[in-house]
């Protein structure tokens, strides 16, 4: 859940259908799991999903190790995890490049590594890579904004962008996708104020952005969690002449899109459900099974989730996937 | 010595030197002439510019104008290092040592014996031991950290540092202020040795007796100007004081309004104000019992390091006693808070570290212990405070009399007046006020004139029923000021007498390893 104000169990789990052979309990698998310290809804959802998915299988034992505040801390944590020899390791690295060496170390020790979200540069460092599509996310947001503006017939629109932590590579990929998509329409970003994935930083960034652009046509905010603050700032500034697109696909954002009472008209997904999938596939890898819908006997090496655009029209479909 | 001075070479000549600080012309045309191998004394009231003058010589300050000739050459040291290289070493008024370095490291700071940047610790230790030996203090270990030495020990190390340079001129700014009687003798012995080797000494002190004993010639400063140069050290006191102050009075104790005789005093004046019973602190003092009655001045004499400061601080509640009690007016003192609440005040020994907020103005320093008393409902009354401080500043002849000036910019002696003034002021303005005043070396660095004023103030306090417990390393001061004298040695009270019934020599005998006390102590 994006906010703890939501109630009920909101983890995204796949409880295998009855006809699914892979769902049947098999050989016991110990899965080591490591993700960065969660100070943010999306990461928190990743960890929650992984735990919840593991709990679904009677034959999976999840050994989560918290990864601390930076890549160095995560390296240290993984060293101790590798020493404990789990069958598979699922990790969401702080930074794929910085933890590449650790991935290699685990693979060398005979432990298959499932990389979540942040790619290792060396292919030998992982057995499976599941990632969201950061570039595609930016592309989708840019596509949506471009189409909408074109439909409205706005000539040279003023477009704002509020990315998350700017020094992260994923932010750069998203921005690149966004710029590329806009360029196809002949549009470009007028102002870009990064936040830090937190609501208060989102509010500060949005306030600055709104002040710099007294008139705006569209806004892309990379992250729905910081979007709470962005929306607050928009309300505080009494602005409504533009529309906004979110990112990631939190429950609150999907709700707001459904209700259609704010400037938020769409959000592009980057779903933490990938963690649930990662656990399922790690189990299969551990048991030496393949994905039952594929002909291949083993799980493939790369899976990239598509970024989808949630609007009022399809929001109901995605409501369950909001985190 | 002064006879030979005529024939000796001039080593240093200052002509019309001017140095200005923001708002003050500290030196306003100084002339000074120092001869090889002489002890040249600088005299002047607090704030006259003595320390500023020697800092100009030492390369700490740069003269705004004027001429300095050093060994016949024009001289304008750009830095302390330059001055030292030229052969001028300085012992500063404020201790300039580094707490966390050892004695040897301090002595050779800035010119450490070294090889390829590595300190040669053994060599430094040996040389330090040698110099300390020459100074008569072989007992100070070169490896001891400075922070573990008492004030007197630090002064010795400052001297050792000055001697560690091969200086042709050694400037000493009030070196005797923190030294006790015997130490001063020792200092003079060293100075004589130095001058015998042709080294010149510029000596600053507020004690005229010392100047007469060690000095060859005297230069007097007043308000940054030389008012008399090259006088003989034997010039009569009256004349010297006249040149310093423009007035003429002597180093004297004002006539004491006779303290009430025990028999004739009213009941409340006979019951002790302060009762200290069996007070001990391990390693500092043991089994001290004493009383102070209202209106009585009790002086404690003793060697440096005999534990007097610690005793005073413990009575004041600033240190926790191992055993014993302190009762003030029927109230047991358990800490500084209760001491101040019940009317005790203390002027501590080390003004900079224990008493002053250097960046704050004079008046806020003076009212540090009493601003709450001036305040109404928690809001301070700065105007009242300033007025009260101004009165005290006038009483003590603070120079300059501007109470808005940061204390940092005052001369050493004037800073001392601020420290003492703090508790005098409390008395004036609080109905309850100070009833017992603890004074630890109150006249350290205070000039002759202001000293007399201070004595008068202390007498007036006593006349108003305030009890005073006084520690001073100057035996004449204790004898002249106090009604009753306590002698302390190695942390124990060994003798008690009425001031009129004991003389200086007896006290000195008692204070030293003296044989007199042997019987009594047992």
């Amino acid at each position: 859940a994006c906010t703890s104000n939501d109630t009920g169990n909101d983890a995204q789990v796949k409880t295998g259908g009855s006809g699914d052979a892979n769902a049947a309990a098999g050989q016991k698998v110990i899965i080591g799991f490591s993700a960065p310290a969660a100070d943010h809804g999306w990461i928190a959802a990743i960890t929650n999903n992984a735990k919840a998915q593991a709990a679904v299988y009677s034959d999976v034992e999840l050994r989560p190790v918290e990864a601390g505040a930076d890549a160095a801390a995560q390296r240290a944590a993984l060293s101790t995890l590798i020493a404990q020899k789990p069958q598979v390791i699922v990790m969401l690295p702080h930074d794929g490049k910085e933890l590449n060496a650790t991935g290699l170390e685990a693979m060398k020790a005979g432990i298959p590594v499932v990389n979540l979200d942040r790619a290792f540069p060396s292919a030998a460092a992982y057995r499976l890579q599941i990632k969201g599509d950061n570039y595609g996310m930016g592309l989708a947001a840019g596509q949506y904004i471009g189409e909408q503006l074109k439909a409205k017939g706005v000539g040279s629109p003023i477009i704002g962008e509020i990315p998350g932590i700017d020094s992260l590579e994923l932010t750069q990929e998203r921005t690149k996708g966004f710029n590329d998509a806009l360029a196809a329409f002949g549009f470009k970003v007028a102002n870009r104020r990064p936040a830090e994935f937190t609501a208060d930083s989102g509010q500060a960034a949005a306030t600055a952005l709104l002040q710099a652009l007294p008139k705006m046509d569209a806004l892309w905010n990379h992250d729905d969690d910081q979007g709470i603050g962005v929306l607050a700032a928009i309300k505080q500034a009494n602005r409504s002449e533009f529309f906004m697109v979110g990112g990631a696909g939190s429950k609150a954002a999907i709700d707001a899109i459904t209700k259609d009472d704010t400037v938020l008209k769409a959000t592009v997904t980057y779903s933490p459900s990938m963690a649930s999938s990662a656990i399922s596939l790690a189990r299969l890898i551990g048991q030496g099974k393949g994905m039952s819908d594929l002909v291949e006997l083993q799980v493939p090496k790369e899976i990239t989730l598509a970024s989808e655009t949630i609007t009022k029209d399809n929001a109901s479909k995605y409501a369950k996937l909001g985190f | 010595m002064s006879e030979s001075a005529g024939s000796a070479r001039k080593i240093l000549t200052l002509t019309d030197v001017v140095k200005e600080f923001p708002g003050v012309r500290a030196l306003d045309g100084v002339h000074l002439e120092v001869l090889e191998g002489e002890v040249h004394c600088l005299l002047g009231q607090n704030g006259a510019g003595k320390s500023t003058l020697i800092k100009v010589l030492a390369g700490v300050h740069h003269a705004d104008s004027g001429e300095i000739l050093w060994q016949g050459e024009p001289f304008a040291p750009a830095s302390p290092q330059a001055a030292m290289r030229a052969g001028i070493a300085t012992i500063y008024q404020e201790l300039d040592l580094v707490d966390d370095l050892s004695v040897a490291e301090n002595a050779f700071l800035g010119h450490e014996p070294s090889r390829f940047g590595f300190t040669r610790r053994r060599s430094a230790a040996e040389q330090t031991r040698f110099i300390l030996g020459k100074l008569g203090h072989p007992e100070i270990p070169p490896g001891r950290l400075i922070k573990d030495l008492p004030a007197a020990g630090k002064q010795i190390v400052s001297m050792a540092r000055a001697l560690s340079h091969n200086a042709k001129l050694i400037v000493m700014d009030e070196p005797s202020a923190v030294l006790a009687h015997d130490e001063v003798e020792n200092l003079f012995r060293i100075i004589r040795e130095l001058t015998a080797h042709g080294i010149a000494v510029v000596y600053i002190s507020h004690r005229l007796a010392e100047i007469r004993e060690i000095g060859d010639r005297v230069t007097v400063l007043k308000d940054g100007r030389t008012t008399a140069a090259g006088l003989s050290a034997r010039t009569p006191t009256r004349e010297l004081v006249g040149k310093m102050t423009g007035r003429s009075f002597e180093y004297a104790f004002p006539p004491r309004v006779a303290p009430d005789k025990e028999s004739s005093a009213p009941e409340e004046k006979r019951t002790p104000l302060l009762t200290v019973t069996n007070l001990s602190r391990a390693g500092e003092f043991a089994d001290i019992s004493l009383t102070v009655r209202p209106g009585e001045i009790v002086g404690i004499a003793g060697l440096v390091g005999s534990g007097r400061s610690e005793l005073l601080e413990t009575i004041f509640g600033a240190r926790r006693p191992d055993t014993g009690t302190v009762i003030l007016n029927g109230h047991r003192i358990t800490g500084v808070g209760s001491a101040v609440r019940h009317g005790m005040g203390m002027a501590p020994e080390e003004r900079k570290s224990q008493a002053l907020l250097l960046d704050e103005p004079v008046f806020k320093n003076m009212t540090l212990a009493s601003f709450a008393g001036f305040a109404r409902a928690g809001f301070t009354a700065a105007r009242d405070e300033r007025a009260a401080a101004q009165r005290t500043a006038d009483n003590l002849e603070l120079r300059p009399r501007d109470v808005d000036r940061p204390v940092r910019t005052l001369s050493g002696g004037n800073q001392q007046k601020v420290v003492v003034g703090r508790w005098l002021l409390t008395r004036e303005n609080n109905a309850g006020g100070t009833r017992l005043l603890l004074l630890d070396e109150p006249t350290r660095g205070v000039d002759v004139g202001a000293r007399a004023e201070l004595y008068q103030v202390i007498h007036d306090l006593a006349a108003n029923g305030v009890g005073v417990l006084l520690v001073s390393s100057e035996v004449p001061e204790v004898l002249g000021l106090a009604d009753r004298v306590l002698v302390m040695r190695e942390g124990r009270l060994i003798h008690e007498a009425l001031a009129g019934e004991i003389d200086e020599d007896t006290v000195l005998d008692l204070v030293m390893a003296g044989s007199l006390m042997e019987g009594e102590a047992a």
Binding site: C2, T3, S4, N5, A38, D39, H40, G41, I43, A44, N191, R192, E196, T198, A199, D200, S201, Q203, A208, Q211, A212, P214, I228, G229, A232, K235, Q236, A252 | E20, G23, V24, D28, D223, G224, F316, V336, G337, A339, V340, S353, Q354, A355, L356, L357, D359, E360, K364, L368, A369, F371, A372, A375, G378, F379, T380, R399, P400, D402, R405, R422
Partner: protein, 339 residues
């Protein structure tokens, strides 16, 4: 007597005043840069007015915290936990349980949490004799941990309209947040300059031993300073929560650095014993104006950062330059006074 004649006038110049003047100069220069680079925005008076209010409003939360921090630093300490206290207070005030007590309950909770954490800091430092840096660093880590625990690492949305409206309300055309800042600054100024508490703070920070020997209860006073800082953080937590209409464990990230920097730029000595509230306010405003300037010029983060460091250095140098040259001016005038 020369000392008397030379003294009076020249001595009246005041470091603090000059420093603050220097900071005003820096602000003016920043605004001029803004005007030059974005004339079309600055040509609209409504925008300019609004911009000033926004700069003030964005400075309000950190400004309040900086007032508390300034007291702590003047008193010889440091409080690295301010950001964490805000996070903990904000998160605690926005749990569903607290929200059920309404706005008053939320405000009360935030203030109590702030004061309580400040109290713990104070006890550790004053009575446990921990170095302030270490004690409040430990508190930083712990309080953020606790905030994460309480919030389940989620962003907690404030559903309370009263709280949320704090950020949108205006009084006499000026945002309520700015009024709160003004009030806290004014109270801080009075407290520091006109009360015994302020005098004790300066004494305790300037020379703790002297303060102790003057009968001031140094320990109790230090403790109170951290409580005061905690209280300011509690107020700040409400302000931030209302602005973001939510709270989370990572909020107010690195506020400690900003607050310390603002205080120091405003003329507070890191070693204690000296400082001004107005200076600290100007320090905060400088930072806030820089951010605004970057935003209206759409500077990229990396350029922004490179330039920001330079501006900070230039600002402080500018202050010093003014100071020194003015001093010299005064000195020269004095000299020429003499015959």
């Amino acid at each position: 007597m020369i000392a008397e004649t030379a003294l009076p006038k020249a001595q009246k110049y005041d470091d603090n005043l000059l420093r603050n003047l220097g900071l005003v100069g820096v602000l003016v220069i920043l605004v001029i840069i803004g005007i030059v680079t974005r004339p079309e925005l600055y040509s609209d008076p409504a925008w300019v007015r609004n911009n000033v209010l926004i700069i003030l409003q964005q400075a309000s939360g950190i400004g309040v915290v900086t007032v508390g921090m300034t007291f702590v630093i003047i008193g010889g300490g440091i409080d690295l936990s301010v950001g964490a206290i805000i996070a903990l207070a904000g998160v605690w005030a926005t749990t569903l349980a607290t929200q059920s007590y309404g706005a008053a309950g939320m405000i009360f909770t935030a203030l109590v949490v702030g004061v309580a954490v400040g109290l713990v800091n104070g006890v550790l430092i004053a009575y446990g004799k921990l170095v302030p840096f270490i004690a409040t660093l430990a508190m930083l880590v712990s309080a953020r941990g606790l905030a994460a625990q309480i919030s389940g690492k989620q962003t907690q949305v404030s559903a309370n309209e009263t709280i949320n409206s704090i950020a949108t309300t205006k009084l006499l055309g000026i945002p309520l947040l700015v009024w709160i800042l003004a009030l806290v600054v004014a109270a801080g100024w009075v407290l520091l300059n006109r009360t015994t508490f302020g005098r004790r703070t300066v004494a305790v920070g300037g020379n703790p031993e002297a303060a102790r020997l003057a009968g001031i209860n140094v320990k109790r006073h230090s403790l109170l300073l951290y409580v005061l800082s905690g209280l300011c953080c509690g107020i700040g937590a409400i302000m931030l929560t209302s602005q973001a209409t939510s709270a989370q464990a990572a909020m107010a990230n690195l506020y400690e650095l900003d607050a310390i920097a603002a205080a120091i730029i405003g003329g507070t000595l890191l070693s204690g014993g000296r400082g001004t509230i107005i200076g600290a306010l100007f320090g905060v405003l400088v930072f806030s104006t820089i951010t605004n300037l970057f935003a209206i010029n759409n500077l990229a983060t990396e350029v922004q950062n490179m330039v920001k460091g330079g501006i900070i250095v230039a600002a402080v140098l500018l202050q010093q330059f003014r100071y020194r040259s003015l001093t010299n001016l005064l000195r020269r005038r004095n000299v020429s006074d003499k015959p």
